[in-house]
Assembly symmetry: C2
DNA sequence: CGGTGTGTTGAGGCACATCAAGCCAGGTGG
DNA sequence: CCACCTGGCTTGATGTGCCTCAACACACCG
């Protein structure tokens, strides 16, 4: 299943991490990046595609903790071993940044440490938003918020254009703390309200950004 | 498990931090440490007492993001300005660590940066656990988890002894994403089950640690 | 063509929210 | 010392949003 991880020893240059990263890996859909309990060998910078990070409970419940897209870095927030599973949603390229070399680079360039602290801070902020979303918002508010952030992820105009939605309903449900049925119902509800359109699997269109924002902001229809 | 988001493993006695801190402030109950939007002047080490960090929404809803106790450090995960309000639960002493001096120290001793990065990572992890708690657990599971972490916070034996519970029901409710009524009902339910005891306001006793653990682990009574 | 996996739609139940009293300890003033 | 108030907590009755269970629609594939 997840054997096709071809390691390419390519030195790609991105502004983010410069010359630190070395190995680039190519993942197919649902290939694993790392598993809960694995030793944390390093961080991964997503070059293209998308991944999901999640935890599975003994009783089968699953919580997707984050989606990450091109430009994001995953692997933070773990100690000696990874605390979550992480795998690709679609065909994905990642660059591995070994922990050791990151620490070495940090010794040489302390400003890098500051930068990383900032990144970590942003991550914390995201998680706080997620917590709020999960316990203070209704189903339709959660979906609206989710679609809004998904729209924000892709470059270019956000309205009236097909935007990628690379994850399946089950992934969305497990991220938002809902069931697939509730996700489906509220998506069609948003479609009926002419706020979004669902032309096909794997993409969506924002038709009325203002109302989408309104719904996401908890102001929408809480009577 | 998921409590001290802002709270971290940096110990008071660490020589690293020791010489950095300067001003000590004394707060009474509900005195503010900082407010959302304030410029981040620095971090605070809790010397004694306890604080809560929270966000208030335009519609009045409140989400407590973390509680922090003696030995914890708050103020991480913010950019130029603080991302949430923070104030004391009880009489509390804090030591302020100015941001500038921390950055200076980081340049001189890069290993400090590592430590802080670890700390930030732990914070992210805690927030992820909180997300899981908020959307995958039932009311009684949330309360059990909460009491378990509260028990873990205080030194000494955890069973059969009065443990401090410095926050009111409303604080617990806003942390766990429940109402005060639901918190109250499930606390008395745990008491009726002889898992805990509630001798008086501001404290609780663990009577059956195994069952408390079981309940917290999502295994408890999910039919 | 049936088989499978993903998404949609419908009916009914349950956990938690909401609304509303009532309880109890601490404080204050007569 | 008691009457009264206040705020935090508990308990009860009722409503509702989401879950559960179940069937169906549809695309894809051998």
């Amino acid at each position: 299943m997840q054997l096709s991880t071809i390691a390419l020893a390519v030195q790609t240059q991105t502004p983010a991490m410069g010359a630190i990263g070395t190995g680039v890996r190519l993942l197919s859909a649902y290939d694993s990046l790392f598993r809960e309990g694995d030793e944390t060998t390093g961080f991964y910078e997503i070059l293209s595609g998308a991944v999901r990070a999640y935890k599975i409970f003994p009783d089968g419940r699953r919580q997707i903790v984050a989606f990450a897209f091109a430009g994001d870095i995953v692997g933070f927030g773990h100690g000696e071993t990874y605390r979550f599973d992480c795998d690709a949603l679609t065909s994905t390229r990642v660059r591995m940044i070994p922990k050791a070399s990151l620490l070495r680079a940090m010794r040489e360039r302390p400003e890098l440490g500051e930068k990383l602290l900032e990144v970590a801070g942003g991550e914390v902020a995201n998680m706080q938003d997620l917590s709020i979303l999960l316990c203070r918002k209704t189903a339709i508010e959660r979906i609206a918020s989710f679609l809004l952030t998904m729209a924000g992820k892709s470059a270019g105009p956000m309205v009236g254009r097909q935007l990628p939605l690379p994850m399946c309903r089950a992934d969305i449900a497990d991220y938002l703390g809902l069931t697939i049925e509730t996700v489906s119902r509220n998506m069609t509800r948003l479609k009926a309200m002419r706020v979004i359109d669902l032309p096909n699997r794997g993409s969506f269109v924002v038709r009325d950004m203002d109302r989408l924002r309104l719904l996401a902001q908890c102001e929408g229809n809480m009577h």
